[in-house]
């Protein structure tokens, strides 16, 4: 099941691995086919205990299918799923010590909020008094202590989301699986929940395995992120490394905005052939070549094609004299900087530090 993707596997922090034994989740050569469609194409992944791990990718990249195989809803075509070192590949969902927060929450509409939260304890025959207390605790943890007697239909989207969370964490699973849990919430609520989720995970010390297509969400919350593309992992890295050192053009393009320089432009600009990525905010824009800082090794001249005002920043698209174009992002710290007067059609000089040019290698799709 070895395939030569140029995946830089960033290992989980050393201290975690020392004290906590086998990884919380371990996937080996995981594969899933639906008819002739290969949804997941050989995934190897270790997720450490207590880690907040995100699987990030566009829709159809296989991340949700991987999550469903960890939960037990799909049986892999090939490969293994291990939880805490135990092979659970063939185990039914109800025998696995994981709980899921579903994308549409999947709350039971015929039960009250409290009954929903108690459900997992009820089917495991936990005594009534204990499950009352634990359900109430879980509801308070998600700030819904007063809502136990309501029906899910009487709650807002954000509240339902938190009930789904309480229903899962009340069982104290080893691993919590979250399938785009914030997808249905509006932007403001989503931002709040991101902070809350992160806090909750730290409090509980449970391993979170989180599926999202939102790169910002993945970057803000996760300890590590696996970027999925067409059923494969392109890169596993910490948010910072993923952003600063994307391993493949896909990662560079999917996580944040990126300029990919390749072919002739690479040779002319950087003096060597290959494919390179540089983030728009690393590039400086000057009207006068004399203003280019001396430590900026890479320079290029061009003409501004488009200027987009984004509020906190301004984005300019510059057509290079060498051919190709670059996106430049500049914070609007002061309104008198030169960038502002570099309107459409202005001749400008771009420069950036050599270290911000990252060599990216396309993941080869064949074995």
């Amino acid at each position: 099941m070895n395939h030569p993707t140029k995946t830089e596997r960033t290992e989980a922090p050393e201290r975690d691995r020392e004290e906590q034994g086998p990884p919380a989740v371990s996937l080996r050569g995981l594969r899933k086919e639906f008819g002739s469609v290969v949804a997941v194409d050989g995934i190897d992944l270790d997720i450490a205990n207590g880690e907040f791990f995100a699987m990030l990718g566009p829709s159809g990249s296989g991340k949700t299918t991987v999550l469903r195989m960890v939960a037990g809803f799909e049986v892999p075509t090939d490969g293994r799923v291990e939880l805490g070192g135990v092979d659970v590949t063939r185990q039914a969902p109800f025998s696995r010590d994981v709980n899921t927060v579903f994308q549409d929450y999947a709350l039971f509409p015929h039960m009250t909020v409290a009954q929903n939260v108690e459900y997992g304890l009820r089917v495991k025959r936990v005594p009534r008094a204990e499950r009352r207390t634990r359900a109430q605790e879980a509801l308070e943890k998600v700030r819904l202590g007063q809502f136990g007697s309501r029906r899910p239909g009487q709650l807002s989207g954000g509240q339902r989301q938190r009930v789904a969370l309480a229903r899962a964490i009340v069982n104290r699973p080893k691993v919590l699986l979250l399938d785009e849990p914030l997808g249905a919430l509006d932007l403001k609520l989503r931002r709040e929940m991101q902070v809350e989720l992160k806090q909750l995970q730290r409090d509980l010390g449970i391993t979170f395995l989180f599926v999202t297509h939102d790169q910002e969400e993945a970057l803000t919350m996760s300890d590590r992120i696996a970027v999925f593309n067409e059923g494969r992992i392109e890169q596993v890295a910490t948010p910072r490394d993923l952003y600063e050192l994307p391993a493949t053009p896909f990662v560079a393009g999917f996580v944040g905005t990126s300029n990919v320089i390749d072919g002739d432009a690479a040779t002319k600009l950087l003096g060597e052939p290959g494919t390179f990525s540089v983030r728009p905010e690393k590039i400086q824009l000057h009207l006068d070549a004399a203003h280019v800082p001396t430590h900026h090794a890479v320079t290029a001249a061009g003409v501004v094609r488009e200027v987009v005002y984004l509020g906190s920043a301004t984005q300019s698209i510059v057509d290079l004299d060498h051919g190709g174009s670059l996106i430049v992002l500049r914070q609007n710290q002061q309104s008198s900087e030169e960038g502002d007067v570099a309107g459409r059609g202005a001749h400008v000089h771009l420069s950036w530090s050599r270290e911000h040019t990252v060599s990216v290698v396309p993941a080869s799709p064949d074995e």
């Binding site: 037990g72 969902p93 109800f94 549409d104 999947a106 039971f108 509409p109």
Partner: protein, 273 residues
């Protein structure tokens, strides 16, 4: 209703109203006639009724034949509905939750009896019961015959509900540690309950007023209510009682339909999406 009203011209709206009213009149005036005639003092149903009486209702209450027929019909309908509930639910779950070879064909075969002409079903069952199974026609054969088409209403109702509810809730239940049976008991069944009631009531109503298939599968001893009515319709001294029994039949058929409609409406918000 409101939102489409602007798209229709007044003349078109008027035409629709008149046609609807006409259709309702054609359907319901004869039924109303039966109800009124059950109180009509004239034995020949002179119209308009010169006087109203409860005599026919009293006579009907004393008629052993009518009472036996009602009891038989209720029993047949109850048992046929019960059989349909069990088999229809199981068939719907199998077809909705599992993929297997010939699935669409099986689905069609289950629904077909309701579309087949009653007389064909009747003759076929009559032959099969007597020659293949060597059964005497009677209560049992009526129940089995009715169950063949009553299953359809339960099957359709449950299938539609399962399709609407989806598998998410069952997955959530399994995820929380519930075994397959516990999931059925605590999640699937409660979600299906109103669909089962609606399907069961429809099955009851369908069985209760069935006459064609019953004619071929009832023995000489057993009379369901519709058959009793048909046999007594042209006996002059029984005619007034027939009217009374017909009213009872109308009520017993309409009430389940009305309840099942209410249930279907009340549970639209059930899935909670």
């Amino acid at each position: 209703m409101r939102s489409t009203s602007t798209a229709m011209s007044p003349a078109f709206k008027m035409t629709l109203r008149v046609l609807t009213a006409l259709a309702l009149v054609v359907i319901y005036v004869p039924l109303l006639l039966v109800v009124v005639n059950s109180f009509n003092a004239s034995q020949t149903f002179a119209w308009p009724p010169s006087d109203l009486t409860l005599e026919w209702w009293r006579k009907a209450a004393d008629s052993e034949g009518a009472k036996d027929a009602i009891v038989t019909s209720v029993q047949v309908a109850l048992i046929a509905s019960a059989i349909s509930l069990v088999l229809g639910t199981m068939a719907a779950m199998a077809l909705q939750r599992y993929r297997f070879f010939g699935r669409d064909t099986v689905s069609l075969l289950i629904i077909l009896p309701i579309a087949l002409p009653g007389i064909v079903t009747g003759i076929a069952l009559n032959n099969a019961f007597r020659t293949v199974f060597g059964l005497d026609l009677g209560f049992l054969t009526i129940v089995v015959a009715h169950a063949t088409f009553c299953i359809v209403t339960v099957f359709n109702n449950v299938l539609a509900r399962l399709r609407r509810v989806g598998t998410n809730l069952e997955e959530a239940s399994a995820d929380l540690g519930a075994s397959t049976f516990t999931t059925f008991r605590l999640v699937t069944f409660p979600m299906m309950r109103s669909a089962l009631i609606a399907g069961g009531l429809l099955a009851f109503a369908l069985s209760f007023d069935e006459i064609i298939v019953t004619t071929f599968t009832a023995g000489p001893q057993e009379q369901t209510l519709p058959i009793w009515i048909f046999n007594n319709l042209f006996r002059p001294n029984q005619a007034p009682i027939v009217n009374v029994v017909a009213v009872v039949l109308i009520l017993l058929s309409v009430i389940p339909i009305w309840i099942s409609q209410k249930l279907a409406g009340a549970t639209d918000g059930l899935a909670g999406r």
